[in-house]
Amino acid sequence: MDLLDLIDAVQSVADGVLFGATYALLGIGFTLIFGVMHKLNLSYAAASIGAAYASLLILAGIEAPAIFVFLMAAVAGGVIGGLVYLIAFKFIPLANPLATLMSTVGLLLLIDEIIVHSTAGVPLNYPALFSDVIIPMGPFNLRGDLIFVFALGCVCMVVLLLLLYRTKLGLATRAVSQQPIASELCGISITHVNVLTFVLTGVVGGIAGAMTGAAIGMLSPLLSLPLTVKGLIVTVIGGLGSIPGAIIAGLVVGGLENFFQFFRGVSERDLYIMLLLFAFLIFRPGGIFPTTAGRD
């Protein structure tokens, strides 16, 4: 391998890490809902793409600036998040672990169908910011749109962590995830926290959906399943329930994805990511940051 190839490989991995911020956000969403409800919300990535679609449909015909479209995706994400809770969790018996798994798979398919029917299955162009900016760094070029996506992801994570660790509602959310009965005894309403978590992760998902659209340049109904799988892989590799784990795993998966794509081609890429998942499941099933139980 000569030097030019090496430079290309590093470039490719760097791009992947930047794009990995969207995986990290999706992973955080899965992990937060799992933390609070101990349930997987399989419709999460589809809802995120749905939110990005919604931002396009709502603003159709208006020459809205890209940043406004992203904002609309976040708002739509929050609304969809609340709806997901209402449809797939509120009236479903939570004691049965399979019930919400089924209801969220159903919702995943429903969202996909709605997207396909409202767009006739044709991919839509998605606006990006700074897509014409290229920052040269020695032999490497950093793409402006990817850097923006990465920066937006980081801002999102910081805001989320501040919310969780510096506010009263964050305290309530963590309390419910660690000890639901004691939270109720402290006067925390579990239902309120659940709704709040779904709306909040919905906003994060909407932003992740918009970031995906911006980085790829378009939205397609074919995005939701691979993103669901990537989001879940990131969640498991990071450690179910761990936010720092989801962040690191998201960036790592993003980087490795491009690494394998560069060396083995796009058709084999996901195979290696799956192998990585299996390696984790066998040798480190708790993920990068296993959730440690307390003494009780």
């Binding site: 305290l171 009965i181 004691a182 307390g294 003494r295």
Partner: protein, 239 residues
């Protein structure tokens, strides 16, 4: 202060409480004794609003508590220190205390109360940044009590605070219980450790198979032959 009357709570078809009536007097320590499976924890969980009774009423100074959410019940002035403590393991001691004050919004007063808890439980001050899950069992129990007190309850319910603790720690917990009571807190205590309970409580109830089968003062309790055999493990030698 707290009046429970004809309370029935069931899990499916099985009635765990079969018409329980009792009265917790203001500024006293009332103790509920009973074997495992008698329904003591069910009673506590029902008073706290975690479980819904099938019928009956729970009144706190005239206000009906049945049907209110746990959050409302905390706001009305009932706090439960649950069985097995149930501290938030991944949160610091301080955060646990703040969670206990979740219903309150008087920030300055909350900080005063945190300081008060640190003074009463010096261990908690030393470890205020430590994760609650890393505390010893006794310290977790202190934290659970302090957390419940952070809501400024009118009645403090305690479900087996001595469970799984070393005798020295149990003695410490009980001295804290009587101290709290001297400062004017009404306490309703579930306990299996009858010896310790006898030293602090003013009023006793015995619960067996979902029913109250005895009610009396510590003196009457100590007199009762059956209770002596079952709960104090000593039989008075004849003559």
């Amino acid at each position: 202060m707290l009046d429970v009357s004809d309370l029935v709570t069931a899990y499916g078809k099985i009635e765990a409480l079969k018409g329980v009536s009792l009265h917790v007097e203001s500024e006293k320590i009332t103790c509920l004794l009973g074997p495992n499976g008698a329904g003591k924890t069910t009673l506590m969980m029902t008073i706290a609003g975690i479980l819904q009774p099938r019928r009956g009423s729970i009144r706190l100074g005239g206000t009906e508590l049945v049907g209110l959410s746990p959050a409302r019940i905390v706001a009305r002035g009932v706090a439960l220190v649950p069985e097995n403590r149930l501290v938030f393991p991944q949160m610091s001691v301080l955060e646990n205390l703040l969670a206990g004050a979740y219903q309150r919004s008087d920030k300055a007063e909350i900080n005063v109360d945190v300081e008060r808890m640190y003074t009463r439980f010096p261990h908690l001050r030393e470890r205020h940044q430590q994760l609650a899950g890393t505390l010893s069992g006794g310290e977790q129990q202190m934290l659970a009590v302090a957390r419940a007190l952070m809501s400024r309850p009118r009645v403090l319910l305690m479900d087996e605070p001595s469970l799984g603790l070393a005798p020295l720690v149990v003695a410490e917990i009980f001295s804290i219980i009587s101290e709290l009571n001297r400062d004017g807190t009404t306490i309703f205590l579930v306990e299996q450790n009858a010896h310790m309970a006898l030293q602090v409580a003013h009023q006793f109830f015995l619960m067996e198979q979902g029913r109250i089968t005895f009610k009396g003062t510590p003196g009457q309790l100590a007199e009762d032959e059956v209770i002596q055999r079952a709960y104090l493990g000593t039989r008075r030698t004849a003559g």
